[in-house]
């Protein structure tokens, strides 16, 4: 009797799980398919390798190399900066340092709140500060705002993974006379590397795909930025502008830009997972 009930429950949940996974996969694949189907026809080698020639946004020749390079500069710069800031914070939130204390709770709380701020508010704020300081929209402004945007998700995602490190692991390290820093760097970090990489990619995805924050702070230009103070094009804004024109071929190019964005994120994801596969052997389950 009992066994039948257990088995029925197991089967029921199996069905539910697979249905759920199928629905999630289905909806996400639909989005992916739309981008692919609408964007692929507009993709060409020229699009990826050249900057817009005259009238590109009206259907003329050229490509969006400016936006590709610009987005990479923006997102990589922001992700790097955010990583520099996020890793110390996420590690500090461990029990060894302040984990479990009121300060840790306050920090997590404040980060969750910051994560809920719409990106357009960051954009507006960034804009106001730039007005105050007297600089125009530029690569630097875009990087700073995107760093702010990526920081909460990176810290929280890393934090969740770091918290799963078994305390015995750390205890063993301390028992051998290691300091907190050494334990953190040599034991904990190796254990959570895959999770950290996951967090970085999640944040990178957020940063490279956001339009509202850089609409105000990064500007737009048809050329590649030569310095941090030059305005810079970006793929989300390229999508945004091209969708707003009345030309169907240009709207198709917007999908192509979105597709390129996806490919970039995919490439980064695969590369980092391949690199991290080497570190997987250090992870103790």
């Amino acid at each position: 009797m009992r066994r039948d009930r257990r088995r029925a429950e197991e089967n029921a949940f199996r069905v539910l799980m697979i249905t759920a996974a199928a629905m999630v996969a289905g909806s996400l694949l639909f989005v992916f398919a739309v981008v692919l189907i609408k964007g692929l026809p507009a993709i060409s080698l020229e699009m990826i390798t050249s900057t817009p020639k005259g009238g590109y946004y009206l259907g003329g020749g050229g490509g969006i190399l400016n936006a590709i390079v610009g987005s990479l500069y923006l997102a990589c710069g922001a992700t790097l900066l955010a990583l520099l800031l996020a890793l110390p914070v996420a590690l500090y939130l461990q029990k060894d340092y302040i984990g479990g204390s009121r300060l840790a709770r306050a920090v997590r709380f404040s980060l969750d709140v910051v994560f809920g701020v719409p990106s357009i508010v960051y954009g507006v704020f960034g804009f106001i500060i730039m007005l105050y300081v007297g600089v125009r929209a530029s690569l630097l402004g875009g990087i700073l705002v995107l760093t702010l945007l990526e920081l909460p998700i990176m810290i929280r995602a890393m934090d969740e993974v770091i918290r799963t490190v078994p305390p015995e692991l750390k205890a063993a390290s301390y028992a051998m006379g290691a300091t907190r820093l050494e334990t953190t760097l040599r034991v904990v970090l190796k254990q959570v590397m895959p999770g950290v990489v996951s967090a970085v990619i999640l944040a990178f995805g957020r940063g490279i795909g956001d339009a509202a924050s850089i609409l105000f702070t990064a500007g737009y230009t048809d050329s590649l930025p030569k310095s941090l103070l030059d305005p810079v094009a970006s793929l989300p804004l390229a999508v945004f502008f091209q969708l707003g024109t009345p030309f169907p071929e240009v709207q198709q190019r917007a999908y192509a830009a979105a597709l390129i964005l996806l490919v970039l994120v995919l490439a980064l994801s695969i590369i980092s997972r391949v690199v991290m596969a080497r570190y997987n052997r250090y992870v103790i389950r």
Binding site: G54, G55, Y57, G244, P248
Partner: protein, 321 residues
Amino acid sequence: MRLFLLCAVISIILLSTLAGCSQDKPVDTSVRVYTRSDACGAAETWAKYLGNSKQEDLKGIAVFGDPGLAEAVARDRSGIGFNNIGFAYDVKTGGQLAGLCVIPIDLNENGKIDADENFYNNKSALVKAIAEGRYPSPPARDLHLVTKSEFKGLSREFVRWILSDGQKFVDEMGYVSLPDDKVKQELSKLGPADPTLKMQGVITVSGAWALYPMVVRWAEEYQKAYPGVKVDISAGGAGKGMVDALNNMVDLGMISREIYAEEAGKGACWVSVVKDAVVPVTSSDNPLLQDILASGLTRQSFIDIWVTGKTSDWKAAIQRP
């Protein structure tokens, strides 16, 4: 296994009811009103036509962006909306965009569309009507370029070029040129050229979607004429253009509505560069399409649809009080 089969059977039943239900429905002639959600020149202009109202007085499902609104109306048989002419007509053929149908405005309010009120079939006819003043203004309107305090330097030369050589590209882009005397008037606002000015540098522009394609075209030609000059253009709406221009974040702002007193007070200085218009549209699947095209709608019926909400049925809209 049995559970799985049960789920499958239930979903099949559900899907067939869904398919079956959409067959027998009485013809619905109610009006579904659409407007723009983003603060934009098109909605302000249309609202101005409807009894000097403001965008916030237009009631209806608010959709983001001109293409979004066109799409929403095209897919809704009972929909009514408004678009910039650039988005209501096909760019290549000049005919009406597939799925949309421009609603003729019954200007003399005699209950039908006369021959001289019938210029909506293709863009060039409409553009001609706008230029000759047969299409009311509003909803036709001038588009402007704005700067802070005064036009100077490279951006001034760009504007000067727009008002002279640039005007020959207006027709091909589907906009309406300003009348010659207006162009002269705007040129005189610019002041004399500076002979020592080097044609090298960057001009930054941002603002209205309505002007974006035109300014991109102008920039393309200008950069051909003066290779040392670069023009960086971003869109984002007329409001953003105003904010950017007034704060010196960009050299020129593209504005698709009239300049408010508040903005002039903050130092806005502008010239009109081209003209376009907003047109009312409905879906080409509208059940009463032929009647609508034959009799058109008057300004009052538009007001009753968008502002007061008194008219909510197509039949009532056509048989005006």
